[in-house]
């Protein structure tokens, strides 16, 4: 048996850099540790500040999901201040959040994920030359259009929010803008341009409506073969290529999922409360664990710091959460190895578990039985998981499936705006209270908890999708979702372990990775890699 320890440093960027250490035995990863390598201390900065400081500060946690940070920070205040949000305010927030995600899907796919598909590792594939022609960085025929046109959906964000990234235009009680006719018509035209030039023409090779007819894995396979246009679209090609190079065979992860849900039905959320949240969601929330669906309940979330560079000995709900850093050099002595905390969910009957966040988690939540008429009900990915099991491929398809889905929703919300109605109700700025806000960033569940006292922030805690996914082991020694997903990954060439990049990047965790390979026995460094990646 040959054993290798690979040290991947760094592999991340949302809450900072991420290092990954894996042990490889006989060409397969047998254990993994994810280590967030950078700390800025936003939760510490927010303490004692103006109640609305989170609207300015939290988007700067991550410039990739800045609009999502703003969205949930705003709902945390809406619930704490018991505001009224007019339907137009909810619609504009929905549109903006969705446009950030529509931007992210192609930008992520071409600039950060697909460039690995041209790795020489796959030169044996009969489809390799075509992959290079399409996906090669900068010069690939699909890369150029995909990356350049990804800037279009956020033009719509700028029309309502002034700019993307880093606007703070969502405020308790609604939004700052009072859009006019041309703002709405131009937004419609920009989105249609993006659909006509990328989504339908290049990605799907068919209409959005045709794609949305797909309800099962068998349907999807039939769709690929249905005609030349679909077979040769980027999506049709990606499905064929992914199956050829085996992206459906590894990277499964923990198989348990969390979605905090996002987008509200305006009429059901004019007075945002934590209690009414699940029912008002269009993109459903939910937890799926050990084969069962559960209602999402934020009170069941707790953060564990046993392996994180913070003081503290027990799991805390974020309202009681603490952020007290310690020098990593000292922390390492007591087995700590990451700046990420380990979020865990108390699953009824099973106890605290790590859960995967992201598009696949959202697709599983959308496959749950029941659900109200206004809610997303979509069985496709429950069927895909049933037939294929979780993998890099299924996670990618879940993300890409959301482009046509969210496009349709966004167009619908634009059409529902009544421009002569109100966009904002001035709230009463309560001196104290507790709030909770959440959304789905492109890459998963993103949640804020705020405690206000005497007109200022007493406590502010954020759990990001990357923390859900890259968080380290907990006090029970249970690895986090990416740590679990890396196990079982086959590594064809330890000098160029592109498969690790596929798994890490399939979570879209904004990763930059330098991989150091060590001989497991002698500790001798064999090789150093940058598995370059996700912003």
């Amino acid at each position: 048996m040959t054993a290798l320890d690979l040290f991947v440093s760094p592999l991340g960027r949302v809450e900072g850099d991420l290092d990954v250490r894996v042990t490889i035995e006989d060409g397969v990863v047998t254990s993994a540790w994810t280590e967030a390598a950078m700390f800025r201390g936003f939760e510490i900065i927010l303490k004692g500040k103006d109640p609305q400081a989170g609207l300015i500060v939290t988007p700067r946690i991550c410039g990739i999901c800045g609009g999502s940070h703003l969205y949930k920070a705003c709902y945390a205040l809406d619930t704490a201040w018991k505001t009224h949000v007019p339907p137009n305010g909810t619609l504009i927030r929905n549109i903006a959040q969705a446009c950030e995600t529509l931007q992210s899907i192609p930008r992520y796919f071409y600039a950060l994920f697909a460039i690995d598909l041209v790795n020489k590792n796959y030169a044996h594939s009969p489809l390799y030359d075509e992959a290079v022609r399409r996906f090669a960085p900068y010069v690939g025929t699909s890369y150029q259009t995909g990356v350049v046109l990804s800037a279009k959906p956020v033009e719509v964000y700028a029309i309502f929010g002034g700019q993307w990234p880093h606007s703070s235009f969502m405020v308790p009680g609604g939004v700052m803008c009072g859009p006019n006719l041309a703002d709405v018509t131009r937004s419609t035209a920009i989105l249609d341009h993006w659909k006509n030039h990328w989504l339908e023409k290049q990605w799907l090779g068919c209409s959005i409506e045709r794609w949305m007819e797909i309800k099962t894995w068998a349907d999807m396979q039939e769709w690929v073969e249905e005609n030349e246009s679909q077979y040769n679209s980027d999506c049709g090609f990606f499905i064929r290529y992914a199956l050829d190079i085996g992206l459906h065979e590894y990277g499964g992860g923990c198989g348990n999922y969390i979605a905090s849900g996002t987008y509200f039905e305006p009429s059901l959320y004019e007075n945002p409360t934590i209690e009414a949240r699940n029912g008002a969601l269009i993109g459903r929330s939910g937890v799926y664990a050990d084969g069962r669906w559960h209602d999402f309940d934020h009170m069941r979330i707790a953060e564990d710091v046993s392996h994180s560079y913070f003081t503290g000995t027990r799991r805390l709900h974020p309202w009681e959460g603490e952020t007290d850093p310690i020098d990593p050099q000292i922390g390492r002595g007591s087995g700590k190895y990451s700046w990420a905390k380990s979020p865990r969910y108390d699953v009824p009957g099973s106890g605290h578990m790590p859960l995967e966040a992201g598009p696949l988690a959202r697709r599983v939540a959308a496959g749950a039985p029941a659900g109200a008429a206004h809610q997303d009900h979509d069985p496709l990915f429950v069927d895909m998981l049933d037939k294929l099991g979780p993998s890099v491929f299924v996670r990618q398809m879940a993300r890409l499936h959301e482009a046509p889905k969210y496009f349709q929703w966004t167009k619908q919300w634009l059409s529902q705006l009544y421009l002569h109605d109100s966009f904002y109700t001035k709230p009463e700025e309560l001196e104290s209270g507790k709030g909770f806000g959440a959304t789905e960033a492109a890459r998963g569940a993103l949640l804020d908890w705020i405690v206000l006292e005497d007109g200022k922030i007493e406590n502010y805690q954020v759990i990001t999708p990357t923390a859900w996914n890259i968080g380290p082991r907990d006090s029970d020694g249970t690895p986090g979702p990416i740590e679990q997903a890396l196990v079982g990954t086959p590594i064809a060439d330890v000098d160029d372990p592109v498969e690790l990049g596929h798994v890490a990047r399939s979570f879209d965790s904004c990763l930059v990775c330098t991989v150091h390979a060590y001989d497991g026995k002698s500790g001798r460094e064999l090789s150093t890699f940058v598995v370059n990646g996700m912003v």
Partner: protein, 323 residues
Amino acid sequence: MASVLWFQAGACSGNTMSFLNAEEPNVVDLIVDFGLDLLWHPSLGLELGENAKKIFTDCAEGRRNLDIFVLEGTVIQAPDKSGRYDMFADRPMIDWINELAAAAQIVVAIGDCACWGGIPAMEPNPSDSTGLQFHKRERGGFLGPDWRSRSSLPVINIPGCPAHPDWITQILVALATGRAGDIALDDLHRPQTFFKTFTQTGCTRVQFFEYKQSTTSFGEGTRSGCLFYEYGCRGPMTHSPCNRILWNRQSSKTRAGMPCTGCTEPEFPFFDLAPGTVFKTQKVAGTIPKEIPEGADHLSYMAHAAAARIAAPQWSKEDMFVV
């Protein structure tokens, strides 16, 4: 062909995301048409494995020519100036920054964080973050006030949270096409061509400012009025071209009804976001703005304001940006 190495330290990646929104040139044009040799970038780099690490060390040790070193994100010095709160490729990031800044012909700080510390450096600055050559408005920062690059230039600051893609691409194109000599810097090392004007220059609300007419609420209230009087807008005191070179080719925060937060100035976020300061104009005696347009004094400002209010025509009190 100019070689560029782009690193992210205490960063959110917002400047990279902004950069990717660029058109004329877009990121593909920059590389394919302008021949920018992007040696490595956290999101866009091509090289994997040994090759990438080799690029960093070759540049740092002078074996490979590095024309432009771009830093995005704060310089994280904690704990105790060791830099261990930000490790990159097995070393504190500050060690890479030191070596690469010394090796590069030109060093460019992109975004507030790299320029002067930005949001992470606000009180109580838990990561001991600072900018490359400024800490907030104070000269020095990580490299020191007298530091100069190999081409005898100080760090070129392109601030903003984030910086606008055009501010980044046009400066990179200027440097790459031998126009470094045309880049005149102000006393904060910002290219004057972008930062001489005010955010207010070109703002669609400037007529309301002229007649001292305030916006009355967010939402539909922003169809009229100026955001300076009640909502803390810093447009008249902030240097940027946000209303000359629009964001995402469409708009700007002030046009869309959001008060300028002054994010191209070293003090951002202003007042350390103390209670009562967010989206609220700070006033003297309950009515007079504490801060007034650059270069004005309170007495003449008040006289001007009183006359302007008397002169205000009826349309300046009505909605202008109507459905």
